[in-house]
Symmetry: C2
Subunit: 119 residues, 2 copies
């Protein structure tokens, strides 16, 4: 599919975990940084120069999060799956969210286009 060149980053959170706000914020921040560092330099530059568009979406189970992360990675998208160290709220190693991109918006939408915004 021909894209329009827009570059964005999507963070998909497993909403079934019911993360408390501070934990949610930290995990999403982690995903954003890992996604950024995983992206090739032209996508990094394009994203920074175009305002760092970032969208946080929700999925509803660990299985769905794992499936989305695997699909993104298999598509060659910058993909950063975040696992919690598990010292407080979660079991150690629980996957909480995945950062996808910065990458072309259309390519990310093929993986995440059906997911709702995290509310």
């Amino acid at each position: 599919m021909a894209g329009d060149g827009r570059i964005k980053q999507v963070i998909v959170v497993d909403a079934s975990l019911g993360l408390p706000p501070g934990k949610l914020a930290a995990q999403a921040a982690h995903a954003a940084v890992i996604g950024f560092l995983t992206a090739p330099a032209p996508l990094q530059r394009g994203w920074l120069q175009s305002g760092m568009a970032k969208i946080v979406l929700a999925c509803d189970s660990p299985d769905e999060l794992a499936r989305i992360a695997a699909a993104a990675d298999a598509s060659g998208l910058p993909t950063g799956l975040v696992r919690d160290a598990g010292r407080t709220v979660l079991e150690p190693g629980t996957a909480t969210c995945v950062g996808i991109g910065p990458a072309e918006a259309d390519a990310i939408d093929e993986i995440t286009g059906a997911l709702p915004l995290l509310r």
Copy 2:
């Protein structure tokens, strides 16, 4: 004060805004990336190599957030103040959070050491 060399990143959120979870996650992610990009390369490397420690704290007013961001910047810490584009939940330009670091933990604690974790 002599530090022990630990490097971390702190994100301070204005909890008085009562950001909904998706907005909170996106703003914190933005702060984390800006803080990272603002840091000098040795701190970036040191943070990445030591596990990217990240802590999310709360302050309780716009004035306090502005004061903390100004103090961090004046101390020479990597500082990324995030303002919301304001298309949905907030007034345009509302400051939501600030990313401080990656930097030496002791130096950040001099600015943020009295703040509670965001719950």
